[in-house]
């Protein structure tokens, strides 16, 4: 029998090694798998490659991973977080800055068997021409730039080639989940959770509630269980840092 429901977050996430790449759902404060991020901090994992739209907008969730210096590379569209800014400019984190729609589409592509696609988004900008910093040294000098993107014209419009963004793991947050991994979300908290779950080779879901199989209507499943390998019930505050916010 399939039972993807796990009881112990630390045991569940123990398979995530240092250096892993992880796609994380959420946008702002909605749909962020906070408990999973914090459990990873408890496990003291480091050198992570995090793929997430934001780098956290407070010291919880992805923000805690940033604040505790656990990230070696960040791929996302809007890492507007002071700790992140400091880490990036001091050379401790590499940044792959990606337009938000391209980010979502690259994550979906990874899960959909599309190795690459063209889009007009970012064509002709610094993000496409290799003119944007990817890494600084400790002295504020750029030591690496984003790679220039292949360009091809379709219907008179210059488009850049974007590749699928597959990750070792994904952390997502749902409203409801069942033992099969079927997920349902509410309103704006669906956001990157669907593309992230598609991008991850192994997807962990933190769910607000675990429901019986059949409780989610077949037409109300927002992501079928085949994309999800592990499910755990969210426990508010579990694994939160004892002095929350102290690192800010």
């Amino acid at each position: 029998m399939i039972n993807k429901v796990r009881a112990d977050a630390l045991e569940m996430l123990s398979v995530v090694p240092d250096g892993a790449s992880i796609a994380i759902g959420g946008f702002g404060l909605t749909g962020v798998p906070v408990m999973l991020c914090h459990a990873l901090c408890e496990l003291d994992r480091r050198d992570l490659h995090i793929v997430s739209n934001n780098a956290g907008i407070d010291p919880t969730g992805v923000g805690r991973l940033v604040g505790e210096g656990r990230i070696r590379k960040f791929t996302g569209s809007f890492p507007s977080n002071k700790e992140f800014f400091t880490s990036f400019h001091s050379g401790s984190v590499e940044l792959e800055l990606v337009p938000q729609g391209t980010l979502a589409e690259r994550m979906r592509a990874a899960g959909a068997g599309i190795p690459a696609f063209y889009t007009p988004t970012s064509a002709g900008t610094d993000l496409a021409t290799g003119s944007y910093p990817a890494r600084y040294d400790g002295e504020g000098q750029v030591t690496a730039w984003l790679s220039p993107k292949d360009v091809r014209v379709f219907g008179g419009v210059a488009c850049v080639l974007e590749t699928a963004l597959a990750t070792d793991f994904a952390f997502v947050k749902s409203y409801k989940a069942d033992r099969l991994g079927n997920l349902a979300f509410r309103l704006a908290s669906r956001n990157f959770n669907v593309p992230a779950a598609m991008a991850g080779r192994v997807t962990f879901c933190e769910s607000q509630s675990i429901v019986e199989v059949g409780e989610i209507d077949p037409d109300g499943v927002h992501l079928p269980g085949i994309f999800v390998q592990h499910v755990i019930e969210s426990q508010l505050g579990k694994f939160d840092a004892p002095t929350r916010g102290a690192s800010l």
Binding site: I57, F78, L95, L97, G101, P120, T125, Y132
Partner: protein
Amino acid sequence: MSEPDALGWSREELATRAALDVPDGAYVNVGIGIPMLIASHIPEDREVWFHTENGVLGLGGVPEADEVDLDMQNAGKEYAKIVVGAAAFDSALSFAIVRGGHLDIAVLGGMQVASMGDLANWSVPGRTPGVGGAMDLVTGSKQVWVLMEHTDRAGTPKLMRHCTLPITGTRCVTRVYTTLGVFQPAGSHFECLDLAPGVDIETVRALTDAEVTLARDSRE
């Protein structure tokens, strides 16, 4: 109407002026800042649908404290309401809407707009990195409106011959609403479609890097 010490429209007046041009039935994405003010100034006889990039079509206003739904924020990461008939979706579909050409208007803030329609609004060297959905919005929307102050705080023009800041997209802006007036990028110059009360075209020209022509039916 305008603030005593400021020339032209206030931010609120600017949003009100732009809102007048949003047609009934339009699907609109409004960016953070002045653009978001548009939503509360749409004339009452028009039904306009607001898209928020984080995955909802049918974004509503700001909730009272007891109305806050923790699963509902706007693109500015503020708690928000939805309207009756709203639809939620994931980020991939949200940007399929943006990039697939389905939005009638994207309203964005701007640092510089060039007369060819190029926009710079995402990157200032040394500032926090972040591009968000700006590059997606400018390539996908049927119309791209920029709402911004006519100059920066130091009085430096923002309507340019050529952008000097990193661009968000080329030839994408269809209209610019500044504190001084309404402008259309027209290739070699901007065409002025409207002027704020008390503002004359010579004042605009003095505060604009690119050339500005006056459209026949403009107010002056």
